[in-house]
Symmetry: C2
């Protein structure tokens, strides 16, 4: 039996007409029983999302004991359901209560999570008003436990069974509304998932509910084979595996890939679809798929601002432990590394600049490498990384030829290549300034005759 | 002032006519003052080299208290200088003395080193008979100290100054003959360098003598841009830097690259030349050189029998310390690693099979990785590695395009790529069975219109 969990993003819930679209989607298929909601997003270009208002509100309140932004949040809900005066007053009161707990460790988290909570309350009210048998399931009732905090906050896999039990106990309702983005820590305090965490909430519900499909409803027709800001004509990816999606999501894809953990390997099809264009099939992500004989890659992703720290030293190859010493430096500083590159008398450590923002951190890495590895010379180079990905590359000899011929023609200098950890992608380093030219060249090398969207 | 050190290999000293050629080369230029000699090599295809006879002799003697192979060694010297009966008798006596010390820790080393020692005595005698002012300088007199042992034996850099002093004190002689391959440890016992170590002895003499040139005289016209067994028409490399030579020497080049250490960075030009064709300029290796604008690569090297151990695990990228754990496994087992490859949810450790010969070693690595890294899946793949090298690649956008287009056309599947540790090479992994096809394709992609040798 098909069971669909549908997660709706901020723009899909920003106004009443948008919520109506989302509800129409829910009603179009009886299998769509679970509706995971984000906080109301931007209504128009330049509009402030409710979550951002809430972050401001928490800061304002801690500083001044009151908050104008909090009023704006309540106003946003009132704009959606002006007739539900009682609900809006209750939401206002509850938000003020959360703001008042300004000494709590989780003050910001609790306030920030209010956007999804309020959104779920509002959607539940609208559904009920339409005469639909609907019920909100709050993460506390569900037992959605968050472990870790900050960037490392994630759902506790141990809670899936409990959530499933609660959801099954609600089988009397046609639609169950779950606020995304937050849960509770073991002490019972609200904790939020990293930004974009509603995707993960939806995945947890999908796993717990034993869903066959997890639909992620956004404002775009699925995921594209290349960043549309660089390649406006980039085609939508009809389907790919979770592994392929990870290769692309890693670098600049819109989908928050932390949401894969609960669903990957559980026979759940994740699709990314467009609330404003529900007839478009979007992008389907699944455990396994059949690769068409002519397919070479699923897409090309790109992220800028990596830095390669290269070291030269005669006979590195005979120095047992060199690589371990090199990686020990970044590990000691708590830095993840992206790639290590090995030459004969040279080695390089490639790090993401985003992890090096702390003042003096980069110098610490360089100093640490000098001390641990004693190189004869060091070379620092900034670069962007492209990920060229897709299982299809296994079936063709010419994927590299196409890629590098296109880069040569575009006069893009290749700064690094790392391939071989698996059979489904390779990484190419280029100068930051050439990143866009590189993405365009690679995309066109594989898809120039297939304009679709 | 130009000072040349000339090292002659085994085939250049295998017979009297060959030794005469070597002496003619020495006499052709007054700057050629230092002559470093190997043991007599093969006289014809299938002939046994003196060094191999000596290894047998040591084993025979330890087993039976006598040795036929030792007699054959003396016979080889007698064949070269039949008239020097006194010298040949002395050599016979000295070899028997070395053999007799069968309880010594360095028994095999002392016997093995006798080939170079005898060769130097014989060459000195021939030079003197020709009326040339020549003198042998034995490594003990020179103070050539060896540190480490077995595969790790190497000259002690601290002894260069002392050797230089001794050599300068011999300025009364026109030609100084130095036996290669061996020296003495700090206790005064003979120690040999790893096989091919006469190249290193020559480099030590070149460094110590303040030479401007180190000529390595072989039986080929220098080094080729690709293995001539695979690409018979491969051109000779006219010149390259030490760094470039290292990239190629690493994988299957004939020159023993341990010899670079004493000379690299000391303004010494190393040339590889042909005793049988002294008019050919051979290959010059130097610290720096000017790369012609049209030059792309200096050559392509290849070695077979590497194994990649790949691991898959969701969110490896977020696991701080994964790489260090992976490298810790090989380090603990005392294994050098060739490459590490990094994917998004995957990583691979690439090792040379030659280091995995000990029974059960490969299983130990796999077991160690399973325990340390806890992968969800492992993939083992054997492969050959190509090294495409040359500073010229920095000046051209199309080096990768040419390489991978050629491989695609030859239907060679690319299994790994590692580039970016420096600007002068990249590694490409292919199936062992496709190694020759790959080398041929890459060579022809860069040199198909330049048949020369």
């Amino acid at each position: 039996m098909a069971i669909f969990v549908c997660k709706f993003g901020g723009t899909s819930l920003a106004t009443l007409p948008q919520i109506d679209k989302a509800i129409d989607i829910m009603l179009a298929d009886k299998s769509r029983r679970f509706m995971v909601v984000s906080a109301p997003g931007a209504r128009f270009k330049g509009d402030v999302k409710v979550t951002d208002l809430l972050i401001r509100a928490a800061a304002e309140y801690r500083l001044t004991g009151r908050s104008e932004s909090a009023d704006q949040v309540v106003e946003r809900f009132r704009e959606i359901v002006p007739e539900a005066t009682e609900l809006c007053e209750r939401l206002h009161k509850e938000l003020l209560e959360r703001l008042a707990e300004k000494e709590a460790d989780n003050h910001e988290e609790a306030v920030k999570a209010f956007g999804e909570y309020g959104s779920a309350c509002v959607v539940e009210a609208i559904l009920k008003k339409k005469g639909i048998s609907a019920q909100m399931a709050e993460p506390r009732e569900l037992g959605l436990t968050i472990i870790g905090s900050g960037h490392n906050a994630r759902p506790d896999a141990k809670c899936y069974a409990k959530i499933g039990k609660v959801l099954r106990s609600m089988k009397g309702f046609d639609i169950i509304v779950v606020p995304g983005f937050y849960g509770y820590d073991n002490a019972g305090n609200i904790q939020t998932l990293p930004r974009g965490g509603s995707d993960t909430s939806g995945a947890v519900v999908a796993r717990a509910a034993g869903a066959t499909h997890y639909e992620n409803w956004t404002d775009e027709n699925g995921l594209r084979r290349a960043d549309p800001r660089i390649v406006p004509h980039a085609a939508t990816i009809p389907e790919m595996t979770y592994d392929e999606a990870r290769e692309l999501a890693y670098m600049g894809f819109k989908l928050q890939d932390a949401c894969f953990e609960p669903i990957k390997g559980n026979n759940i099809v994740l699709s990314v679809r467009n609330t404003n264009n529900p007839d478009h099939p979007g992008t389907r992500i699944m455990d396994t798929r059949t690769v068409a004989p002519e397919e070479r890659i699923v897409g090309v992703a790109c992220e800028q601002n990596f830095v390669s720290i290269g070291m030269r030293k005669l006979y590195i190859d005979k120095e047992v432990g060199f690589g371990r010493k090199m990686l020990g430096v970044s590990e000691k500083l708590g830095l993840p590394y992206e790639h290590t590159l090995d030459g004969v008398d040279s080695a390089a450590l490639l790090l993401a600049r985003k992890y090096l923002k702390e003042e003096g951190m980069f110098d610490k890495v360089v100093k640490g490498l000098k001390k641990a590895c004693r190189p004869e010379a060091m070379m620092i180079r900034d670069m962007a990384l492209l990920s060229v990905a897709g299982f299809g590359m296994q079936n063709h000899f010419d994927v590299h030829a196409r890629t590098f011929s296109a880069l040569a023609e575009a006069k893009v200098a290749v700064r690094m290549i790392d391939e071989g950890a698996d059979d489904l992608s390779f990484f190419v380093g280029v100068d930051n300034e050439q990143a866009a030219a590189a993405v365009k060249a690679v995309y066109d090398a594989f898809y120039s005759e297939q304009f679709q969207s």
